[in-house]
């Protein structure tokens, strides 16, 4: 895995987790929940691949792909914000956070459009197993995006006040780790639910 990535900087000694242990335990719990949900989807699909494929084809893949780009970009901006804070430029990082929030808002807008179309087409949690998973997984994730935005908003308020710096990274690194988790699960969710058949 590492060989595929560009060269990494010499690891700081000793190796540390970026962010608070508490948030990381929470992230692990969330990853577990999503992971089990993904696997449940895959095995439910295995019982009825044709039906899943038919309904899957009707999803708006363009919207899904654009949302992936938005989330990735938001994540990248958050990385820049963390780096800025580390360089002692907390206020500069605040601007990156605003940009990330903008991308997240775009994600939310597109997702709401997608839901509106789905509901007007009569799709609900009870209309089929695929739709149950599609709505459950995306809505569960959607709520995480909203929570992530609340967290990014809080980081922004603090960053704007110049709170973060090389000696105070715990808050921003914790929030950033949570946001990347939201991104990470979408990176699997998108191909799984929208594309692979």
């Amino acid at each position: 895995m590492r060989a595929a990535c560009p060269p990494l900087p010499a690891p700081r000694t000793p190796p540390t987790l970026a962010g608070d242990l508490a948030i990381w335990i929470f992230i692990l719990a969330e990853l577990l929940a999503f992971g089990v949900f993904f696997i449940a989807y895959a095995f439910a699909r295995a019982n009825n691949p044709e039906l899943f494929a038919a309904e899957q084809l009707a999803l708006n893949r363009d919207a899904g792909a654009i949302n992936t780009l938005l989330l990735l970009t938001a994540s990248y901006f958050v990385v820049r914000a963390v780096h800025a804070a580390e360089a002692g430029q907390s206020r500069h990082g605040a601007r990156w956070l605003v940009a990330a929030l903008g991308c997240a808002a775009g994600f939310v807008a597109i997702k709401i459009g997608e839901y509106a179309a789905a509901f007007s087409a009569g799709i609900s949690l009870s209309s089929s197993t695929f739709h149950m998973f599609y709505l459950s997984l995306t809505f569960f994730h959607f709520m995480h995006v909203l929570l992530g935005m609340v967290i990014l908003g809080a980081l922004w308020l603090n960053a704007r006040r110049g709170l973060y710096g090389p000696h105070n990274m715990n808050g921003i690194e914790s929030g950033a780790a949570y946001w990347h988790m939201v991104d990470l699960v979408w990176l699997i969710l998108f191909p799984l639910v929208y594309v692979i058949r």
């Binding site: 990535c5 990494l8 019982n47 792909a65 780096h83 360089a87 950033a176 699997i188 191909p191 594309v195």
Partner: protein, 92 residues
């Protein structure tokens, strides 16, 4: 220190562009309309690589203790492997 951050920025930027490209690739494969075991495996592999990039670089686990790398990457590999297994099982 600042030099480190600049190079870290450059690395993250490169990764970000690669991640965007991989996403477009996944989307294009989906538009192409083809399915089957090979395509499913390919897309899952791409997703896993993207996930690894986010975990190691964005989440900064590359400089975290080994245990945490094992847990998070292990999660990624396990989930993708089990999804793959389910797809293999559901093949006609």
């Amino acid at each position: 220190m600042n030099h480190d951050i600049r190079s870290a920025n450059r690395r993250s930027t490169v990764l970000w562009v690669l991640l965007l490209a991989a996403t477009v690739f996944t989307w294009a494969v989906g538009e192409g309309g083809s399915g089957g075991a090979a395509i499913a495996a390919l897309l899952l592999g791409v997703a896993a690589l993207k996930g690894a990039a986010v975990i190691l670089d964005f989440m900064a686990l590359a400089r975290a203790p080994l245990l945490w790398q094992l847990i998070t990457l292990g999660w990624l590999v396990l989930v993708c492997a089990l999804i793959g297994l389910a797809y293999w099982k559901g093949m006609p």
